[in-house]
């Protein structure tokens, strides 16, 4: 794969990847806020954290829905194999996303202590579980998934919970916590801001440890990934870019340039996803035992006609979405304050 072919299938590989990357970058910070949420005990601080993501978490989750829809439309066999194969994991992910979503909405509607505690735990637990499961799914795709000759999943639920995917899961949790903490620093002031600053430092360390461990594990135990890197030395530049992004996060943060630290954190997510995507390309689901059963961007794709129609739809829709998403983030810029319409 020295030269990446420029065809509709590759473009859709890129687009689906871009949607999931957008999801990780955006929902990543609000899942991260969820993971950090229980570390503060004060009701007002919890409300501030909730309201820092209040207007946007819902739109962030749409990236996942649209990513799923794009996968369904562009690569139906991948959608069918992965969703039916990862059945229980995905049902758990749904439960986690339901609980954290409604918890945001419900939590501050009643003053009772038990009420708020319950939804606080739902919000935090749902956020951590969702991040973990997303990472485990990603880890399994990277590790390779057993497929039969019809391209159907040939493994078990417990077979998905092996050490490598779990390590990816923990790394994603760490990444989102760091990402969320920096977002929180940008959105808050005063005491909570100082707390989040301290948490960010710890989260960066936690993430760097995970990232280093994951890199070692990948090179040692995932031979097809390592082989791909050896065969395509230019891939190393993406890995290098990724390392520089990660290193730049504490650098910017140390100098108090929080916004740049957040941008670097976004860069970390983008380069990680790019590294992952370039390593599996043109496979979407790689079957290590029987590589001939793997689902690729060619054997699992919709017809060229459909990919073309969908490209027109994306061409109209995506710029519009980007434009008004930017506007909406701009309307809610600045530090979060509690007012009458807050959660």
């Amino acid at each position: 794969m020295n030269a990446i072919p420029f065809d509709l299938n590759s473009i859709w590989f890129l687009l689906v990847g871009a949607l999931f990357t957008g999801y990780a970058m955006l929902d990543g910070f609000d899942l991260g806020i969820g993971a950090l949420y229980l570390f503060t005990k004060k009701d007002e601080e919890r409300r501030l954290l909730l309201n820092s993501i209040g207007p946007v978490w819902d739109g962030n989750e749409v990236w996942l829905v649209t990513g799923g829809g794009a996968l369904f439309a562009a690569f139906p066999d991948v959608y069918a194999t992965v969703f039916s194969g990862f059945y229980l994991a995905l049902i758990l992910l749904l439960a986690a996303l339901i609980f954290r979503g409604v918890a945001i909405e419900f939590r501050s509607k009643q003053p009772m202590r038990w009420w708020r505690q319950t939804w606080d735990v739902s919000f935090a637990g749902g956020s951590v579980l969702a991040a973990l499961l997303i990472g485990v799914a990603l880890g399994n795709i990277a590790w390779g998934v057993p497929l039969d000759q019809h391209g159907e999943f040939a493994g078990t639920f417990l077979g998905l919970l092996t050490p490598y995917p779990l390590l990816v899961g923990i790394t994603v949790v760490a990444l989102f916590m760091m990402h969320g903490a920096i977002y929180g620093v940008m959105k808050t002031e005063g005491e909570l801001h100082d707390k989040l600053r301290e948490w960010t430092r710890r989260c960066i360390i936690f993430f760097v440890i995970c990232a280093v461990t994951l890199t070692m594990a990948t090179l040692l135990y995932v031979p097809h990934m390592a082989a791909r890197m050896r065969a395509n030395p230019w891939l190393f530049s993406v890995a290098l870019l990724n390392m520089l992004s990660i290193a730049n996060v504490p650098r910017e943060f140390h100098h108090g340039r929080d916004r740049m630290a957040f941008v670097s954190s976004c860069g970390t997510i983008i380069t990680l996803m790019a590294l992952f995507a370039l390593n599996i390309f043109p496979n979407l689901v790689f079957s290590p035992q029987h590589p001939e059963n793997s689902l690729t961007i060619y054997n699992a794709a919709s017809s060229p006609k459909t990919l073309g129609v969908m490209l027109v739809i994306a061409g109209i829709g995506v710029p519009a979405v980007a434009a008004y998403t930017v506007c909406i983030y701009w309307i809610f810029r600045g530090k979060v304050k509690l007012d009458r319409v807050s959660y």
Partner: protein
């Protein structure tokens, strides 16, 4: 205790039916309330009467609650095609997936993006920007109806596709995108679905307002809301009957077995009767009950004498379940008629000025919130059960669509989980909704604050020039 033995197919059907039915409580409310919010804010901008501002604020809070559960339960639907109906997904992904992806790009982003401004942007943006955002949320909600009905209508009346491959590898591919989008049943079914959603929103506003009037609370607010709600309820329920008629004609033409099942019609006859009340005796293949002769022929073909195709024209294995289709369809029609009657009565007495004295009618209007909800459910049940035994009409049978690798006990696990979560969600929803209604509109919403308080630059004089 011995568990009844159920296979993956039955369990998957129960799970999909249950999760979609629960989900479908919420989107119609979002669509209907969304439209009413647009009208309220438009009236506020036009008249400057702050009562409309108070109305918009109150109903927005209710809207937020329904929207949150709608989103949470909606993601489940998108995942379930892949988890439980993987073979179906492989077969239709090229066509059906495109409609779902378009829904994400065109509808969900628009809805959820501008929802931020609608809910949290009061006092942060000017009146016009806020009004624009409300319009976009409403438009997004309607777009989502468009694309999901396009997708579902393609399952009812497939068009714009061809079949590729053989045996297990057969799949449908798009040949003409616009034929897919405007397949033979899209337009009338979309009209009927959206009117049903408007009814849900309108009767919801009517119900809460009528209750305030009964209790003598927030009387000015309640009167204005009731007036708007009744007007919308009457308009929407009348349109609902009209689109229902068009929809029935579409079914007669495109899915005659479904129409025959709706009416329990076994023999092809001219002057086909419309059953007003009764039940189907499936053993003797006839309907017991009261029927209006010729009316079905008229409804289906605009002519009392045109024959209507009966179930005997179809092989037994190609017929939908008759009793269920019949019941769902007639329940829907009955509820629809009741909605028209109640809305008309309420509207009449409201304009006569005597509605506040007619407590029995107000009580009926309070309960009437259930009518469109039940009618929407019954209507979808009729549409989907009537499509059986096909998952894609004429192309793929429902049992062929399930996931090959999913086991029954796995589906039992997810079904139990969803049941528990959804009961909990529903209980919390009702609890919080009741709480919001008990609190009522905030008095200080009568005075717009923040940027909303700024007088708008008067464009009215310019427009008149």
């Amino acid at each position: 205790m011995v568990w009844p033995v159920m296979d993956v197919l039955t369990l998957s059907r129960i799970q999909f039916g249950a999760t979609i039915a629960f989900h479908y409580i919420y989107p119609p409310l979002s669509i209907g309330l969304g439209l009413l919010l647009v009208i309220m804010e438009a009236l506020w901008l036009k008249t400057g009467n702050n009562l409309y501002h108070q109305m918009a604020r109150f109903w927005t809070r209710v809207f937020a609650l329904t929207f949150a559960i709608g989103v949470a339960t909606g993601i489940v639907m998108e995942f379930e095609f892949g988890t439980n109906w993987a073979t179906y997904s492989r077969f239709v992904g090229d066509v059906f997936g495109s409609a779902l992806a378009a829904e994400g790009i065109f509808a969900f982003f628009l809805e959820s993006g501008f929802l931020a401004v609608l809910l949290f942007g009061w006092e942060k943006v000017g009146r016009k920007t806020h009004f624009f955002s409300t319009c976009m949320v409403c438009l997004g909600a309607h777009f989502s109806a468009v694309w999901i009905v396009v997708a579902n209508s393609w399952m009812q009346t497939p068009a714009g596709y061809h079949l590729v491959g053989h045996g297990l590898l057969t799949r449908a591919e798009i040949t003409n995108f616009w034929q897919l989008v405007f397949n033979p049943s899209t337009v009338q079914r979309l009209g009927h679905t959206v009117c049903g959603a408007w009814c849900a929103g309108a009767f919801f506003v009517v119900s809460v307002s009528a209750w305030y009037l009964l209790k003598g609370r927030h009387v000015d607010f309640a009167r204005k809301s009731l007036k708007l709600g009744l007007f919308a309820a009457l308009g929407a329920s009348l349109l609902q009957a009209a689109t229902g008629h068009l929809s029935a004609q579409g079914v007669a033409k495109n899915q005659p077995a479904k129409l025959a099942a709706f009416e329990g019609l076994y023999d092809t006859v001219s002057n086909a009767p419309l059953v007003l009340a009764g039940y189907v005796d499936e053993k003797r293949e006839r309907v017991v009950g009261l029927a209006a002769p010729g009316l079905l022929s008229f409804l289906a073909h605009n002519n009392f004498h045109t024959p209507v195709i009966g179930l005997h024209e179809f092989k037994p294995e190609d017929r939908p379940p008759v009793t269920a289709s019949f019941l769902f369809f007639h329940a829907m029609v009955g509820l629809g008629m009741a909605m028209i009657g109640l809305a008309a009565l309420g509207f009449l007495y409201f304009h006569h000025g005597s509605l506040p004295q007619r407590r029995w009618l107000l009580w009926l209007l309070v309960v009437a919130v259930l009518l469109p909800q039940l009618a929407n459910q019954m209507g979808w049940f009729a549409a989907e059960v009537g499509r059986q035994p096909w998952i894609v009409y004429g192309l793929m049978r429902t049992p062929e669509g399930i996931s090959a690798v999913v086991k029954a006990n796995t589906v039992i696990a997810s079904l139990v989980l969803f049941t528990l979560i959804y009961f909990l969600l529903f209980a919390v929803f009702i609890y919080l909704l009741n709480d919001k209604i008990q609190h009522g509109p905030h008095a200080d919403d009568l005075v717009p604050a923040g940027k909303l308080a700024l007088p708008i630059v008067q464009p009215a004089t310019e427009e008149r020039k």
